[in-house]
């Protein structure tokens, strides 16, 4: 039997980056806020203690802080003609679990999308004509511009203490920064991270080629910092245990370092962990949310009534929760109608592995976001005319770690086991560099999310089904980028290089990236998205949905910076809603 709890002003589903920021900002105004989180509480002092945090076997191999398929999984297929099967071991992407979400285990690369990215459809057609748009695409402009989001990017960067070097302050190009970035009001809150020898080689080679390298913006921070919430961080020690790990050194921006210490002091805030929200409840006419239903660790079911429901789970699970709750019309690719699950997108990875002689790169002295990048081939910073594809990539030379169990580079042709392999690893460990291209993925009619017709979870609810493949546009783009990476790698002085092209069809097994976007897209037209420009549901005005599920398509960057900016942007929408409840945008 479902037991009903006393009403709250706000219920938040999921306590990661977006949930914790909204919880703090709303509780700070005196609202009664409860956050309901599927996973456990996690705290730097207790869970990421320096004595146990750098445990590669526990965290990287056994994936200790990640979601387990028994908690939730998806079915997957490459196209609608196939039958989707359940993912039984997370591989290509690894959703987080517990308080802090994926903000605990991320590498910390914190980008702003480029101004053109927000109006990519209009921009590409204006410059190249309709002909450049790929077949079957759903590419659409964002309902918000870079200029509108700029102050909110700034706010998130200040909360996270991001280290970097500005390339464009108020329209003035800054030497050593990213000259292609949108104008920013302020310099980064902390100076850029230190770089290694291979980044030095990359910087020189790229500059000689007429490209524009700059230190990658990083949430592993370079100096001590105290953010506007009073939360303090310590300088990164370049220990190389970022991605897949919680930071024991208070050096990586996360909800744990940047928000939770202030949030837990708010007297009107409460967190309920190990409780899974199963449904957003609606009024009989379906026009308003009345709260949520959740199941606690003992399997007991509770109803939590609330005036405002903020859906802040990982993007994929936001989509599923909306589908299970009947908020918004589910997307149907056959009729090309409906919105929930529409425009699922991902990220491409391609590049070049470069082998040098007589160098010592010391790959172990690294952080998740050290590295030098260039944006000459991102978005529309170059002429797409001759290439016939839409999109671009950020190109980076970086090491995130040189950890003993899983970092075993070898030259091409080295046996995969035995003494020759060992010798090969010993030989290659210090002299391998990687030049990688992280590319955009556009949205398409046949890349989408819906409820699986066959497979159900432990509670009897349908699993979500992912239908996704890299389309010809992305293949062309990523493979062109791999050649650019290879040219730079050669110019760096590599003796041997190996071009890494995009793996197709997309394969769910090897880890690629956890940059899953779309499915609850923000749009200027209710027919092409779930959310209006303030991340408010077009259909149920007291539901707001945060996260990368709102991206209409994905850009050539890591998503977290934009997720953070959208959260503060959405917060302003929530404040406006609280002043005058109702739809913030008339359809």
């Amino acid at each position: 039997m479902v037991r009903r709890l006393p009403r709250k002003d706000v219920v938040i589903v999921g306590l990661g980056w977006t949930g914790s920021i909204l919880a703090y900002e709303l509780a700070h105004t005196g609202l009664d806020v409860v956050a309901i989180e599927r996973g456990p509480w996690r705290d730097t002092a207790v869970d990421f203690n320096i004595g146990t945090a750098a445990d590669e076997l526990r965290y990287a191999v056994r994936q200790d802080i990640f979601l387990r398929p028994t908690q939730e999984t998806l079915t997957m297929r490459n196209n609608p003609s196939q039958t989707a099967l359940p993912i039984r071991k997370w591989g290509s992407f690894l959703p987080g679990n517990g308080v802090g979400g994926a903000g605990v285990h991320w590498n910390g690369q914190t980008w702003r999308f480029l101004p053109d990215d927000f109006r990519i459809r209009s921009h590409m057609i204006e410059r190249y004509g309709e002909g450049i748009m790929p077949e079957g695409n759903h590419i659409q402009d964002w309902p918000v511009s870079y200029d509108e989001l700029e102050p909110y990017y700034d706010k998130f960067e200040r909360v996270a203490g991001i280290s970097g070097r500005a390339g464009n302050i108020k329209g003035e190009i800054q030497p050593g920064g990213n000259r292609f970035e949108g104008a920013r009001e302020n310099e980064y809150p902390t100076p850029a991270m230190k770089q290694g020898y291979q980044q030095e080689l990359f910087t020189k080679a790229a500059a000689n080629m007429g490209l524009h390298p700059f230190p990658r913006p990083s949430a592993n921070i370079s100096t001590a910092y105290t953010n506007p919430y009073g939360c303090s961080m310590a300088p990164c020690t370049y220990c190389g245990f970022c991605e897949w790990f919680g930071c024991a050194n208070y050096s990586k921006a996360s909800p744990q370092t940047c928000v939770l210490p202030a949030l837990i002091r708010e007297p009107t805030f409460e967190a309920r962990t190990e409780c899974e929200v199963t449904k957003v409840n609606l009024t009989v006419d379906g026009k308003m949310a009345t709260g949520v239903t959740y199941v606690d660790a003992n399997g007991e079911e509770w109803e939590q009534p609330a005036d405002l429901v903020l859906v802040c789970a990982y993007g994929l699970f936001n989509v599923r929760l909306l589908l299970l709750s009947g908020i918004g019309k589910p997307y149907d690719p056959a009729s090309d109608e409906g919105v929930v699950g529409r425009n699922y997108a991902y990220q491409t990875g391609s590049g070049s592995t470069a082998f040098f002689e007589d160098v010592k790169f010391n790959p172990f002295a690294a952080a998740g976001s050290t590295g030098v990048a260039l944006d000459d081939f991102n978005s529309d910073n170059f002429d797409h005319g001759p290439h016939g594809f839409v999109g671009g990539a950020s190109i980076t030379c970086a090491h995130t770690n040189g950890r003993p169990i899983r970092y075993h580079p070898t030259l091409p042709g080295t046996p995969a086991w035995g003494s020759a392999w060992k010798k090969g690893v010993r030989d290659a460990y210090q002299r391998v560099a990687n030049v990688g291209a992280q590319g955009s993925v556009m949205s398409y009619r046949n890349n989408y999310l819906d409820l699986d017709p066959t497979y159900k979870d432990a509670l009897g609810r349908p699993l979500m089904r992912m239908t996704f493949d890299y389309q010809p546009n992305e293949q062309k783009m990523a493979n062109w980028m791999a050649e650019r990476c290879n040219e730079i790698a050669k110019a760096m002085g590599a003796k041997v290089t190996q071009v890494n092209r995009l793996g197709v069809p997309w394969n769910v097994v090897p880890y690629q990236t956890t940059h899953n976007t779309g499915g609850t897209v923000m749009s200027s037209d209710p027919k092409t998205g779930v959310l209006n420009r303030y991340l408010q549901s077009w259909d149920v005005p007291n539901v707001f949905v945060m996260g990368a599920s709102a991206f209409p398509q994905n850009a050539g960057y890591n998503p977290t910076g934009t997720v953070g900016a959208l959260t503060y942007w959405g917060l302003d929408g929530i404040f406006n809603y609280l002043k005058s409840p109702g739809a913030l945008v008339q359809p």
Binding site: I50, G51, A224, G230, Y250, I264, R265
Partner: protein, 409 residues
């Protein structure tokens, strides 16, 4: 019959009502709450996870455990039947309403300095608390300490009753600070060494003491181990935020700052600081530092570089707001190195305040450093970067390790 039901509902209110504060006492109640915060009453009169002020916490004394009473206005298990005079007598004389003697684990030798007006305000505040029924066992001490009449002799020897007398030769600020430190703040209860009868040694007032296997440091104006190198502003900042550029509070002082001093007005904190800085210095002079060539220093340095320097920095400079500076930090040069040893063994967390909520942690390293390694690294920290203090032996570490076994934070 409706009126009857109302009457029945009213009855308990009428009974309790007499013991409750009058509504026009508002000013006194607010003042009383602030004073109860200065006294940090809640710290001893609350168990971990228990109802505030409902008592039940076992205070470990050299004579056995004393369980703190319930001071909520519950008529049977709390102090609901006490009058303002009863309350003042307890605070001023260490006697219960019936005349029974209280033990000085309840720091009445300090509270006796508090003015009657302030006690009445605290009393008024305590009356506003929700009454909690919580019966605690008040007789846990073993023979012969369970004989409360023995306190007559103790009081004759060690107890000087009487309200605070301002020193007309000193500033109002100094006298205010003295009133707070010597009275409600009862700072000396932790920061002054005890004699073998558990009484504060007046000739070593505020010169430091070991409390719960932590060092409550010297808080006279001494240069070596006290506040000599701290400005008045440093002291205020420490009490308000839990940290200065040199130091982050942890151990029992974390609770004092979180519950008490961080909530006090700046003017009172400044008065406390002025008093502590101006009342004089006392302590042992600094010895000559051990030479870097000393084998203990060499071993300690090697451990420090491997285990400590990532956070505390090779230079001992630490990281502001996060990891304490060790160079020039007086916690490192106390006569008693207990805090340094203990925090390495058990780890700990720094104070969280509204100003600095992070509460960074020191990991427990007791599982991977043995007694002689801890002795060496503590000796190294005590004698590097300008610090100078007596070396620490492995036996001292062994002894403390046994006392804090299982006490990891």
């Amino acid at each position: 019959m409706r009126w009857l039901r109302h009457l029945i509902l009213l009855l308990p209110l009428l009974v309790v009502g007499g013991a409750r504060a009058e509504p026009d006492n508002y000013v006194d109640i607010v003042r009383g709450k602030a004073l109860a915060t200065v006294g940090d009453c809640v710290a001893c009169h609350t168990t971990s996870g228990g109802q505030p002020f409902a008592g039940g916490l076992a205070l470990q004394t050299p004579f056995g455990a004393i369980v703190t009473p319930n001071i909520t206005p519950d008529a049977t298990t709390g102090i609901g039947s006490w009058s303002a005079d009863d309350f003042a007598r307890a605070m001023h004389e260490g006697r219960r309403p019936g005349g029974t003697y209280l033990y000085p684990a309840f720091p009445y030798p300090y509270y006796t300095r508090v003015t009657r007006k302030d006690l009445d305000a605290i009393y008024a505040y305590l009356r506003t608390l929700p009454p909690v029924e919580n019966r605690v066992n008040r007789n846990t001490l073993p023979f012969p300490f369970n004989i409360r009449l023995s306190m007559i002799g103790w009081n004759m020897l060690f107890f000087t009753p009487g309200e605070f007398k301002a020193d007309p030769k000193r500033s109002d600020e100094f006298n205010r600070g003295a009133y707070l430190v010597e009275g409600l703040g009862h700072c000396g209860a932790c920061h002054t060494p005890f004699n073998s009868f558990g009484a504060s040694q007046n000739d070593k007032y505020l010169q430091g003491n070991r409390i719960d296997n932590w060092t409550a440091p010297n808080i006279t104006n001494d240069m070596q181990a006290g506040l000599g190198k701290w400005s008045v502003d440093n002291v205020v900042q420490y009490l308000k935020t839990g940290q200065t550029r040199f130091s982050l509070a942890s151990g029992p002082m974390k609770d004092v700052i979180e519950n008490s001093t961080s909530k006090m007005p700046d003017t009172d904190l400044k008065a406390i600081a002025a008093y502590l800085k101006e009342r004089g210095a006392a302590g042992s002079p600094a010895p000559a530092p051990l030479p870097a060539s000393d084998p203990r220093m060499q071993m300690g340095e090697a451990i420090f570089v491997d285990t400590c320097s990532a956070c505390h920095m090779r230079s001992g400079a630490g990281v502001e707001h996060m990891f304490p500076k060790l160079a020039g930090n007086v916690i490192t040069t106390q006569n008693d190195p207990a805090s340094l040893i203990r925090i390495i063994i058990t780890g700990g967390r720094a104070t969280a305040t509204d100003s600095f909520p992070t509460s960074p942690s020191m990991p427990s390293l007791g599982y991977r450093l043995n007694d002689s390694q801890i002795a060496a690294v503590v000796t190294y920290v005590r004698n590097s970067w300008g610090n100078a203090a007596a070396p620490v032996s492995a036996e001292t570490v062994k002894d403390l390790r046994a006392r804090v076994a299982g006490a990891g934070d």
